[in-house]
């Protein structure tokens, strides 16, 4: 089958990967001169993209058309005929839309010392030997070009990439860093990075600003925090720009006939499927998402295009036992009181991982309560409602839920039957009947193994759902997040399983005759792939033969990742990695 992928970014390449594995002919059409898209523009992701792409770049069935645009599309008997400028016609049965995202251009506030995060990234690029001389004080300003009337979605990646840019900056230099944020919408382990940076002296201020006064030596930023206006000089200000839908989508939707939603993304009628037959969507054409989700949806769209919906269900039935999912806990609050205070805040970075989940629950609670005529306050230390969830957040604010954002250093306390916001200069007190604490709601979830927490962040991995070769996490246990992701994740995970079977791995070997079964390898294994089993063995004592059970280590090849920790741990050198 011929499949056309529009867009040669990370999600397009992911889709190509699974399609090539399934034996189809793939054509990637990229409008830019080079493939890679947005990911390859980020200095520290460039190499990652290259390694990922290098795995498939020499395949015979892969054609890449660069720098060309689609002029005309015709559809006959289920076959798309595409006319491409200076290239001629190509035919395909299925089309995958992987156009990605366009970074917002804040041309009205940009200057020589106020620039976007992408421009900043090219400054701290490791290919530049030297950083600028006055690299002493840097401000990061978040939420530029998202969460606004013009574009009400949250771009969901700006906080995450800002925290990584801080990491990359601190790896090369030691400037004073200040982050101006509205909410820190981080995910999984990124909260540990945040904590680490706070301890290292990075300032986080919960306020935002558009007041920049630039001159030759630096930029003056004025901001309001803790009851007063402050002015501060910085050398540079970095705008955490949001991601908007690709402008090319409008043209494509006219050519192919699929519809867009009101925010400019492709309308998704079923997971990863557009509203006309044979067109699938992945990556940034769906909504703003990070690289790992782009890979996940790319895999998923590739599998759907390859097999079609019905066959994917078959694959699902065959492989269901490898999918691991857990029912999310049923959180509920009683509705007998009149005034409620929901507190979204925690100090523990592990609990912070649940901000996204708790925020979505709080939105549901608040909606229910406000509709039955109660008064609802939500006090937030952080409120995480990425991409489309931001719309629900907006809606309950319109409905009359009052949000009180705690600034740094402020806290909630009870005083004489009132709830008081202390620690800062403002005096704010509330009388409420019932307080719901985030920490209480998630107290049962703390010892679970969430994939997004343990395995995938913050290092980039190519396995968005894999926990082990026998367990692929989807749903709540992968990442506690919105419902629309469930279907996408299942299809992506199936696709990843199929890819995983092909992968070559090196499995260590145990010389069982010499193994004493001490168990040190078992303790060392990070993937619980080693078991100590008993094997019968003939032992000669003073010439007599006796039968005993001997403990030896055995490696479960399905769980083993081939890291070699057991080899280096074994005290008697009985485990070997086979020579490549």
């Amino acid at each position: 089958m011929n499949v056309i992928i529009i867009g040669g970014g990370i999600s397009g390449i992911s889709a190509a990967k699974i399609l090539l594995k399934e034996g189809h002919r793939v054509t990637i059409i990229e409008s830019a001169e080079e493939i890679g898209g947005l990911m390859a523009k980020i200095a520290n992701c460039r190499v990652g993209f290259k390694t990922f792409f290098d795995e498939i770049k020499d395949r015979q069935h892969l054609t890449i058309i660069k720098g060309k645009k689609i002029e005309h599309v015709e559809r006959k008997n289920g076959i798309f005929k595409l006319k491409i400028e200076e290239h001629g016609e190509i035919e395909a049965e299925r089309v995958i839309i992987a156009t990605g995202l366009t970074p917002y251009d804040p041309s009205d506030i940009k200057g020589k010392r106020v620039f976007t995060s992408l421009e900043y990234d090219s400054i701290i690029d490791q290919r530049n030997e030297k950083l600028p001389e006055d690299f002493n004080k840097i401000a990061f300003i978040l939420c530029v070009g998202s969460r606004s009337k013009e574009y009400p979605l949250c771009s969901s990646v700006c906080c995450s990439y800002t925290i990584r840019e801080i990491k990359w900056t601190l790896m090369r230099s030691n400037p004073e860093i200040t982050v101006f944020y509205n909410d820190l919408r981080l995910f999984g382990q990124e909260f540990f990075l945040e904590k680490l940076f706070r301890e290292k002296g990075v300032r986080f201020i919960r306020t935002n600003t558009r007041y920049f006064e630039e001159d030759e030596a630096g930029v003056t930023i004025r901001y309001y925090t803790d009851g007063e206006i402050k002015e501060e000089r910085f050398n540079y200000a970095v705008l955490g720009i949001g991601l908007r839908p690709n402008q090319g989508l409008l043209q494509l939707s006219k050519l192919f006939g699929f519809s867009l939603n009101e925010y400019g993304f492709v309308k998704e009628v079923e997971p990863l499927t557009a509203d006309i037959e044979g067109v699938y969507i992945c990556g940034g054409a769906l909504e703003p998402m990070n690289i790992k989700d782009s890979i996940l949806t790319g895999f998923g769209a590739g599998l759907l295009a390859s097999k079609g919906k019905e066959k994917v269900y078959e694959v699902l039935r065959e492989n269901e036992r490898y999918l691991y999912s857990e029912k999310e806990p049923e959180l509920d609050i009683d509705e007998s009181a009149d005034t409620y205070l929901l507190y979204a805040g925690t100090e523990n970075p592990f609990s912070s991982m649940f901000y996204e989940y708790i925020s979505s629950r709080f939105i549901d609670f608040a909606k229910k309560l406000i509709q039955s005529g109660k008064k609802v306050y939500v006090v937030t230390r952080n409120f995480v409602s990425p991409s489309y969830s931001e719309l629900e957040y907006e809606e309950i604010k319109r409905d009359g839920v009052i949000f009180i954002n705690l600034e740094e250093g402020e806290y909630l306390e009870k005083k004489n039957g009132m709830v008081v916001i202390g620690g800062g200069k403002r005096s704010l007190s509330l009388t409420v009947d019932r307080i719901v604490f985030m920490d209480d709601l998630i107290s049962d979830l703390k010892n679970k193994e969430f994939l997004s927490f343990y395995r995938s962040e913050p290092q980039l991995r190519w396995s968005p759902t894999k926990w082990s070769r026998e367990r692929f996490h989807v749903g709540f246990i992968r990442h506690p997040r919105a419902k629309r992701w469930e279907g996408r994740e299942i299809i992506g995970a199936l696709s990843e399983m199929l890819l995983d079977r092909e992968e070559e791995r090196v499995i260590p070997q145990v010389h069982e005759d010499r193994c004493s079964g001490c168990g040190s390898c078992k303790n060392a294994c990070p993937h619980s792939a080693i078991e100590i089993i008993s094997v019968p063995k003939d032992v000669a004592i003073f010439g007599l033969l006796s039968n005993t059970l001997n403990p030896v280590a055995r490696i479960n090849s399905n769980l083993c990742m081939g890291c070699g920790l057991c080899v280096s741990t074994c005290p008697s050198d009985v485990i070997d990695l086979p020579a490549a």
Binding site: N182, T207, N208, T209, R210, Y224, I229, I402, F403
Partner: protein, 155 residues
Amino acid sequence: MTQKIDVEKIIGFTGYKKGDFSVCLGCKICASVCTLNDFSMHANPQGLLLKIFMGDDSIDHDPLIKNCVSCYRCTDACPWQIRVPEVVRALRESLKLSSPFEKAFKGSISIWGRVYEPYIFLNAIGFLIKNGYLKHLMKWTEYISFHLPHKIKRI
């Protein structure tokens, strides 16, 4: 205890829906660009909105109530284009904070559609004397006119 702050009434004065103001993100961009803060008045429009929605009575000390000049810089910078000056004006109205001069000025506009100085003078004479505005009287007389203007036609 009767509350001074009646959210519905204030929003009613502005002519907008409540939701147009309550979408506020709490980002405080408005405070960073507010003209009053050029004079270190520590004005925070976002805080004012929050106070209104919470029904906080300590509102009349807010620097915005006294000094806001309706420049709409906050609205321009606000991601949601929230029209704070409108709220401030509505607040002044509902708290009956407008000065006699302001009242006379508005009264003149609503009757004649223009400033009719004798009307303002008569209505706000106490206020003008008390605050020492009469020293501008000489300048005022240069363009003051005493003929009665036409009443505006209400369509």
